[in-house]
Symmetry: C2
Subunit: 198 residues, 2 copies
DNA sequence: ATATTTACGTACTTATTGGTACAATAAATA
DNA sequence: TATTTATTGTACCAATAAGTACGTAAATAT
């Protein structure tokens, strides 16, 4: 890998930093809140830069979603591993949903899913991907829970996964909307008891 | 109340019809989907008319919400009367949520609540009012259910009402997003079993 | 008829939108 | 030093946004 000298003007665009700041803005205010103009103004980048580097708002959001998965959701999914009981897994999920702890409120994926139809093709596809990956994790948790007798065995594990997804997403939306995290936590805990054996 | 002859040019503006069409548009596409320009174009009214009669988009949406309450939500709330068992009431709610039957999909109030913060002052206040009225109905249902032993007695009836509200609103959002009504119905039914005595 | 009062909508303003042409810049090469 | 190639952002475009000044229409009153 020789350091081939390139011929033209050297790149100064900080792509990584741009994606980070984009993620922050999208996460904080939702993926549709900002116009491209305002976006570039706040990011301190020129509009042609955005179109050149990301092909537009759609591409930028898609990349921000990728980073969100890597830095937030993948670690969460890892918390749902087979070494944990169903109760521990749901506890971790509820803790994540009712209080992410770190920077912005709510979940970028949840916010994006809420406006799925108004997203561009690239971001839309990314949202579907991430949602599916998350649901796969939910399904694994549900199935293991059923095998261990920790979850009602008379419901389909895919249905249970979708139910889990619904409830967690609802919790995330409520927290993002500013509702009391303790209330959200309590409601989500109640909702998940519906999955337990009677 | 004598029919006093008014002095100026007679009114030709069809206020009632305007509100009806506004309700239809808001209901179908959500309260923030249309610009004032596009709105007036579709309604066949001039912009000054809208500002004169309703004070702007905010006032128009507020009035549309009023009509929505009168024509849709109040009848629903009436279905939750004391003559029905808890199971019958929730059944009616789920039927409403998972398939409104008539014209547009979803619930205008649910859609409006989802974007509560971006609404104008009048519409925002109306949304709060209607949501509160609905929750009062939910609380009455919950409390009666508890008195009859149809609902877990170890949870606060206000909390149960908020839970009911959450689950019904979630169902409405999902139907509005185009999800399969049968799936939504099944998930909502499961969620509401959490309120039943064990 | 003329003036007065009320209702209405054309046509305008200013600001912002998504999107891009093109000139300026900065390096390697000749 | 001049040329070529690559990168960047100023400065523009047409379309549309929210909001309103003002002239016209249609009735009653004088």
């Amino acid at each position: 890998m020789a350091e081939k000298k390139k011929r033209g003007r050297p790149r100064t665009f900080e792509r990584d930093r741009a994606v980070s700041r984009a993620l922050d803005h999208y996460w904080r205010e939702g993926p549709l809140a900002l116009s491209v103009n305002e976006f570039c103004r706040r990011m301190g980048m020129s509009k042609p830069s955005l179109y050149r580097e990301f092909g537009g708002e759609d591409g930028l959001l898609a990349e921000a979603l990728d980073r969100y998965w890597g830095s937030v959701l993948a670690p969460i999914a890892a918390l749902l591993g087979p070494d944990r009981s169903f109760a521990e897994s749901t506890e971790a999920l509820i803790a994540f949903a009712s209080d992410p702890g770190d920077t912005p409120k709510g979940c970028l994926l949840a916010k994006s899913r809420g406006t799925r139809d108004r997203l561009g093709p690239a971001a839309g596809a990314r949202v579907d991907e991430l949602a599916r990956a998350l649901r796969n994790a939910y399904e694994a948790v549900s199935r293991r829970g059923q095998e261990r007798g920790e979850v009602r065995s008379d419901i389909n594990s895919e249905f249970a996964a979708r139910y889990l997804d619904t409830q967690v997403t609802t919790a995330l939306h409520k927290v993002a909307a500013g509702e009391d995290p303790d209330e959200v936590r309590a409601q989500t805990e109640l909702a998940l008891t519906a999955l337990l054996p009677s």
